[in-house]
Amino acid sequence: MTSDTKPYSGEQAQGAPLPAGGPNPPRSPEPEADVAPVGAAPIGESLAKDAWRRLSQNRAAMLSLGLLIAIIVVCIVGPWLLPWGLAEVDWNAFGTGPTLENAHYLGTDANGRDLLTRVLYGGRVSLSVALVASFVSLVIGVLYGAISGYLGGRVDNYMMRFVDIMYSLPFMFLVILLMVVFGRNIFLIYAAIGAVEWLDMARIVRGQTLALKRREFIEAAHALGVRDTKIVTRHLIPNAIGPVIIYVTLTVPKVILLESFLSFLGLGVQEPLTSWGVLISEGVDMMESAPWMLLVPSIFLALTLFCLNFLGDGLRDALDPRTR
């Protein structure tokens, strides 16, 4: 590598990945023993710490993280500070637009309920459903997929056939069944969505695992006598994390929309309680006469999803030591 054309500055690592078709990073034959890439990781860092350091250098991801936290905090704290209740009807303001005069900062709906209050309450439901369902799908899906792929053979066959059976179960039927047995309950929505969403994740992780388990570093771990559980948790899952994170960021909006679909059918949250999905579908009906009813919840949802996507991209890059 010609040192006069390639500046070694601060945080740059040697041998940055070159685009396809480019040359291998030229390496001198001599420095076998002494080459020390400039700007490497400081001493004693775990992958998590190292990832956090790299994430914090990603401005888009940090901005998204901040905004996401802000949205969550506002949804939790906001309703307490606003003068209106969730179902409180203001008889003087039916379907008024955003205004500062009567403390309906983002307007009211057709029933005279404060929109901002309802959006924040709805945010609690939507975000918690998204969080719980995604987390459930992440944990079950990753473990199930990794174990199935790693063990392979007959076990894999049975585990995946079970997934297929779950797939073939009509989602609505599952939800209605749960309703009949347990009665109407918000936690049922968590359970129902979580029970379905992990299936895709399991398949994705299984595919990754199948490719990974033939790599030599897994074989080396076998040769070291590392236990199966450690191979799965220490070698397989960290190396499959990239697609997993991408998929989680796709799961969150899917879950939010699924919840609104259930609510729309009367199987999800019930009036007066609401969610972003419900508010948006209500807003669509009033689009021409009261556009803010569509815009306000949509903006909240879109903002959340944008942040999640940027954060997901940032996380994926940060967790891969090769991208610096």
Binding site: M1, T2, T5, K6, P7, Q12, A13, Q14, G15, A16, L18, P19, A20, G21, G22, P23, N24, P25, P26, R27, S28, P29, E32, A33, D34, V35, A36, P37, A40, A41, P42, I43, G44, E45, L47, R215, E216, F217, E219, A220, A221, H222, A223, L224, G225, V226, R227, D228, R234, H235, P238, N239, I241, L319, D320, P321, R322
Partner: protein, 533 residues
């Protein structure tokens, strides 16, 4: 010298990367006359492939080129893309290193060759097929009438490379660029392909730009040679002159980078450490719900034994079952037959039964890029075995062991917090060796530990392995297809083919008086005589 066909004049290629420009090729000049062969030699990253790709104008867009590439007097760097497409395939064509991936797996080979003819010779229909058959015949594909309708997966590696050559020849080029055409092939196949190229060259009178890292090929194949390092040509000239009287120290170093010396034999009375009797491995190809499963027998009954301190070399071409045998002996694969380690039968032990033995039986794999988990630091990778076998150690003690292991393989211990991708191939292989050594093993299975490395790095890794063996009294099971490396390291050699032992004996015996025809062919193809000098 006759008139030069291709003249590269002060060619420079710079890649504009996000973190600054990288000059891959700097002021490179050489020329090839009609009908002659020029070998471009250098280690990985020396810019030899970039140079040839530039001649085809196939570099990625972020590459900036300067200088001139004159083909028959025409500067290829300045012609229009349309003209360039005429030149490619018609005047200059190229064959690549990887015959497995350079053919489209979904098309029959006849169609892939025929496409070139349609494009450059306007040959269609019957005439096209006729010409394809001719070409297949010329490149020595058996039964061309049947093979013309084969898919790439039905052909062996050598046959695929022949198909690639047929494609390259279809346009009857004046210049053939061969980018490491034999690197992925077995030595005997390599010799055949080189032979084929030579005869085709004589027939068509085409020039060949031959890119390789393997100097032993160059001596037998090329008229002229240009040695590259860091994107510059350090020395060029007639092959014989350069080889017999190298001027540049780098050329001398390359020529010198041949594994030399022999291993001192282990004491004759040292006890047998590992032995296998009638070891068989088979893989299920097709599992049937009813009826018999179909099996592929990778290892078909092999007896062997290694004494303490000895190195047993296992030699064979790809698919001979040598790696499978190695893994079976270490019980990383299910096998039949008896395997004894220090008298004790270990063939019946299960995973947890094997665990205490794992620290004494260690492995170093071929691919230094694949054998280290990309998401663990080097320190974590090396210390993983300690966590399994010495859970009593605390963090600091483990750290001290890692430092000692890194020092032992001549790596800077302060690198232990880095990730594998920051290291070169040779360094990674040292890390893999450190991971095995930290457990103080008695037997080390070395599965092609040097195959993925440049020659000069290879030599150093071999020296390291030799020193470590002497220091710790290690026993090596050394698997390789590279005969010169095997000769430098082993006491005994076992030649394998199709899962069976063809020949077995001391290294001296096998290399000086091979009995079996197969062994003789292997030795002949490896151009080993150059070492005698």
């Amino acid at each position: 010298m006759t008139q030069s066909l291709l003249e590269i004049d002060k060619l420079s290629v710079t890649f504009q990367l996000p973190n600054g420009p990288v000059t891959a090729v700097k002021d490179v000049s050489f020329s090839i006359a009609e009908g002659e062969t020029l070998a471009l030699v250098g280690e990985s990253g020396s810019g030899k492939s970039v140079t040839s790709t530039a001649a085809m104008r196939l570099l990625p867009e972020l590459a900036e080129t300067s200088g001139a590439i004159r083909f028959n007097g025409e500067n290829l760097l300045e012609v229009t893309p349309k003209r360039m497409r005429r030149v490619r395939g018609n005047d200059i064509s190229m064959i690549f290193q990887e015959p497995m991936t350079s053919l489209n797996p979904l098309h029959r080979i006849g169609r892939q060759i025929g496409e070139v003819l349609i494009r450059h010779k306007q040959l269609k229909g019957k005439a096209n097929r006729q010409r394809v058959l001719e070409l297949l015949n010329q490149v020595g594909i058996p039964e061309p009438e049947r093979r013309i309708d084969s898919y790439p997966y039905e052909l062996s590696g050598g046959q695929r490379q022949r198909v690639m050559i047929a494609m390259a020849l279809a346009g009857e080029p004046k210049l053939l660029i061969a980018d490491e055409p034999t690197t992925a092939l077995d030595v005997t196949v390599q010799a055949q392909i080189l032979e084929l190229l030579k005869s085709l060259q004589a027939k068509y009178g085409m020039a060949i730009l031959f890119i390789t890292h393997d100097l032993s090929i160059v001596r037998h194949f090329a008229d002229h040679v240009a040695v590259m390092r860091y994107g510059e040509v350090v020395e060029s000239g007639r092959t014989l002159d350069v080889f017999d009287n190298p001027q540049h120290e780098y050329t001398r170093m390359l020529l010198d980078a041949i594994p030399r010396g022999r291993k001192e034999p282990a004491p004759a009375d040292s006890p047998v450490l590992l032995s296998g009797q009638d070891v068989k491995v088979r893989f299920a190809l097709k599992k049937r719900l009813f009826g018999k499963n179909e099996y592929f027998e990778a290892v078909r009954g092999i007896d062997l034994s290694i004494r303490r301190g000895q190195t047993l070399g296992i030699v064979g071409e790809s698919g001979s079952g040598k790696s499978t045998l190695g893994r079976a002996l270490l019980r990383l694969l299910k096998s039949e037959g008896e395997i004894r380690f220090e008298e004790a039968d270990i063939s019946g032990l299960d995973k947890s039964g094997m665990r205490p033995l794992r620290s004494r039986l260690q492995v170093v794999f071929q691919d230094p890029f694949g054998s280290l988990s990309p998401r663990m630091t080097v320190g974590d990778i090396i210390s993983e075995g300690l966590k399994v076998h010495h859970p009593e150690l605390n963090r600091r003690q483990r750290e001290a062991e890692v430092i000692a292991a890194l020092e032992e393989v001549a790596l800077d211990p302060s690198m232990r917090n880095r990730y594998p991708h920051e290291f070169s191939g040779g360094q990674r292989q040292r890390i893999a060796i450190a991971r095995a050594l930290i457990l103080k093993p008695e037997l080390l299975l070395l599965d092609e530990p040097t195959s993925a490395l440049d020659r000069s790095v290879q030599v150093r890794v071999i020296d390291l392995l030799r020193d470590l063996q002497k220091k710790h009294g290690l026993t090596y099971l050394f698997i390789s297809h590279d005969l010169s490396v095997v000769r430098a390291l082993s006491d005994d050699v076992l030649v394998m083919k199709e899962g069976r032992v063809i020949e077995q004996g001391s290294t001296e015996m096998i290399f000086s008086q091979p009995k079996e025809a197969y062994t003789q062919a292997l030795l002949k193809a490896a151009f080993l005589e150059s070492e005698a000098a």
